[in-house]
């Protein structure tokens, strides 16, 4: 019993520093913005800031725009990253080896620099326009198309990395066994590979959603002026309009969006570990 106590204390002691830091650096700011978002001009409790963000057409359009861009980006990234991961898992070709070596590069380029490079590449008289002719150039910069493209560019490396590791943990014996039993490629995919990797897909989706819904740099520099992504709108309310309460309520709303996705992730994790315990 004493030994158990000791190890419990040790465990707590090890967790304590990071928990305390979390408390000071995360919990307290979260709490204070929740409080600010419910505080009116006369320090009284009020719902007016939430009323504002859910009735003002400007913000409603921004919320709709944010959700559309986030969901579309997540789906596109997931589809592309999953295809790359499958290809890299099962192909031994030189091309695959090269992709394997290079797909992580975008992760190491700082965001702002990547965005400026992207703008120079795709703007109306940029590199691409010079090659294909300015009159054939579709509007990409200052357009939602450009935003989707740069989101894909930023998020593919990490997502692919996650998915590859999931796919690589599927033992070859399973795949070979299924093949020997006469499974064709579709069957193999639907009944073995997808079920064995879909949980990692959920994890990737969670990270993607949280990263894109709160993004600032790319939408600030590439998107149109309206509707805006929530991150941009929040910054504008905070530092240009000096509406600290309204931007707090926007932040709380975004926090709720992310925590819904987060709960979903935790729930699926718990379910899984329960299964393993049995």
């Amino acid at each position: 019993m004493r030994k158990q106590w000791k190890s419990a204390l040790l465990g707590l002691g090890l967790v304590m520093p990071s928990f305390l830091i979390l408390l000071v650096l995360v919990m307290y700011p979260v709490w204070s913005s929740i409080k600010t978002s419910f505080t009116g001009a006369d320090d009284q409790f009020t719902f007016e800031h939430y009323q504002y963000i859910f009735t003002e057409p400007l913000i409603l359009n921004n919320i709709r725009h944010t959700l559309i861009v986030t969901v579309l980006s997540c789906l596109l990234v997931l589809i592309i990253a999953y295809s790359i991961a499958i290809y890299l898992r099962f192909s031994q070709s030189t091309v695959a080896r090269w992709i394997n070596k290079t797909y992580l590069i975008p992760m190491f380029i700082p965001g702002v620099i990547a965005v400026y490079g992207f703008i120079n590449f795709y703007r109306d008289n940029g590199w691409v326009a010079r090659i294909i002719g300015e009159e054939y150039m579709p509007a990409i910069i200052y357009n939602v198309k450009g935003l989707l493209m740069i989101n894909i560019w930023f998020n593919i490396p990490f997502t692919t990395m996650l998915l590859i590791s999931a796919l690589q943990s599927i033992p070859n014996s399973i795949i070979e066994g299924a093949k020997d039993a006469g499974a064709n490629q579709w069957r193999l995919f639907w009944h073995f590979i997808l079920p064995l990797s879909y949980r990692t897909m959920l994890v990737a989706l969670t990270f993607l959603f949280m990263g894109i819904v709160g993004s600032f740099t790319a939408p600030f520099l590439i998107d149109r002026n309206a509707p805006q992504m929530l991150g941009v709108s929040m910054q504008q309310h905070f530092s240009v309009f000096n509406e600290i309460e309204q931007s707090s309520s926007l932040a709380v709303f975004m926090f709720l969006l992310c925590s819904i996705v987060g709960c979903f992730y935790i729930y699926s994790n718990i379910k899984e570990s329960k299964k393993e315990l049995k």
Binding site: L58, R123, N125, R224, N225, A226, Q236, V240, F241
Partner: protein, 382 residues
């Protein structure tokens, strides 16, 4: 495990070395503070990179000439809470404490705020700041005897000489030019930079009577409609049928690339970039009538009840208004000088010939933010 021990030794060595260094650094700092009889003052400033570079050049020059004064320079980059310095001064004044801020570089709004709250700033006249008599009188009006307007800049029209033949002289002609040349004009999102916000401000207030820019009462917002109608009317003729790039630099980039032919821009930013070759030489600047907005930058002396520091700070303010420093303002910041034009060399006067036509000062206080908010709702979201 051998390599691990090696690493451990190195890490320990580094930590010991660093702590020893930091101790040395501390003690040497203390020695200096204890033994000298220098007056230490602090200068809080904010803005873009060029402001920081300006002070980093001027302060050592000042300290060399006045070896009994030491200036601590604190720079708060714009957009990272510059207002907090003002809040700090106000809070210290309320509680009767020393704010630690002696000289504060701020805006017209800060002066008004300081005036409302009483003795936040020391009064400044040519009695205590001799060179104040050299300052341009039009700039002194807003200073309320509480500040030194030591430099200025304004928004001007920047255009490409090679593609623009009918250069507009007035605001009306500019609006007509925009309509005649769809897609060739751009102004930046007013929430992200002063050039775009000056265009929006001027366009809205050009529709109102003269003197409207000094009104701080919110009732004037009802009269903004006409200006916003004009902005909406112009919108389809803007760059990409209504795209407003982010930041002052966003439109300058478009002008440099040749994607547009005309933009509103800050005089100092545009002059600097033309001189450094970042903008092609075919880019020219011009002020139209009625002019875009602009204004001086002010230096204020925060009241900390310390006579020695006050006198030292006054000396610095006086020094900033000498021709030597004013030439740095002109040559390196490409800003308008704070002192009268005729005190400067003819060569310097010539540099500003294109943009010397002045500027209007917007004195609407918080209405500026409200205007941007309305722009976001009515023009951007159109």
């Amino acid at each position: 495990m051998k390599w691990f021990n090696g690493v451990k030794q190195i890490v320990t060595g580094v930590i010991i070395g660093l702590s020893a260094l930091s101790l040395v650094a501390c003690s040497s700092g203390n020695d200096e503070g204890d033994t000298s009889d220098k007056t230490e003052i602090s200068l809080y400033s904010s803005g873009s990179k060029n402001v920081e570079e300006f002070w980093e050049e001027v302060i050592p020059m000042f300290e060399e000439e006045h070896d009994h004064i030491e200036v601590e320079f604190v720079f708060v980059p714009s957009g990272t809470g510059g207002q907090s310095t003002m809040d700090r001064i106000l809070a210290a004044n309320e509680s009767g404490n020393d704010s630690g801020v002696d000289i504060y570089e701020g805006s017209l709004e800060d002066i008004l705020r300081g005036k409302e709250d009483g003795d936040i700033f020391y009064p400044l006249t040519s009695n205590n700041i001799e060179n104040l008599s050299n300052v341009q009188e039009s700039n002194l009006a807003g200073a309320n005897d509480l500040a030194v307007p030591y430099r200025a800049s304004s928004v001007v029209l920047a255009y490409n000489e090679e593609t623009v033949t009918d250069i507009p002289d007035t605001a009306e002609e500019l609006y007509q030019w925009i309509k005649d040349h769809p897609g060739r004009f751009a102004y930046n999102d007013p929430s992200t930079g002063g050039a775009g916000s000056s265009f929006v401000l001027s366009t809205v207030y050009n529709q109102l009577e003269e003197g409207a820019m000094d009104i701080q009462d919110e009732s004037i917002m009802e009269e903004w409609g006409k200006g916003f109608d004009l902005l909406n009317e112009l919108a389809p003729n803007m760059y990409q049928e209504g795209v407003y790039p982010k930041k002052n630099q966003g439109t300058l980039d478009l002008l440099a690339n040749g994607e547009v032919d005309m933009i509103p821009a800050w005089s100092d930013m545009a002059l600097e970039q033309i001189n450094k070759g970042l903008l092609p030489e075919s880019i020219k600047l011009k002020q139209i009538q009625p002019a875009f907005t602009g204004g001086p930058s002010y230096l204020m002396l925060a009241n900390n009840d310390d006579e020695a520091r006050k006198e030292a700070a006054e000396e610095l303010l006086n020094y900033v208004l000498t021709t030597d420093v004013q030439e740095i303002v002109i040559d390196q910041m490409y800003g308008y000088p704070g002192i009268k034009w005729d005190l400067l060399s003819e060569e310097d006067q010539e540099k500003f010939a294109d943009v010397m036509d002045g500027y209007r000062i917007f004195n609407g206080g918080e209405l500026g933010g409200k205007l941007t908010e309305q722009w976001q709702k009515e023009v951007a979201a159109q």
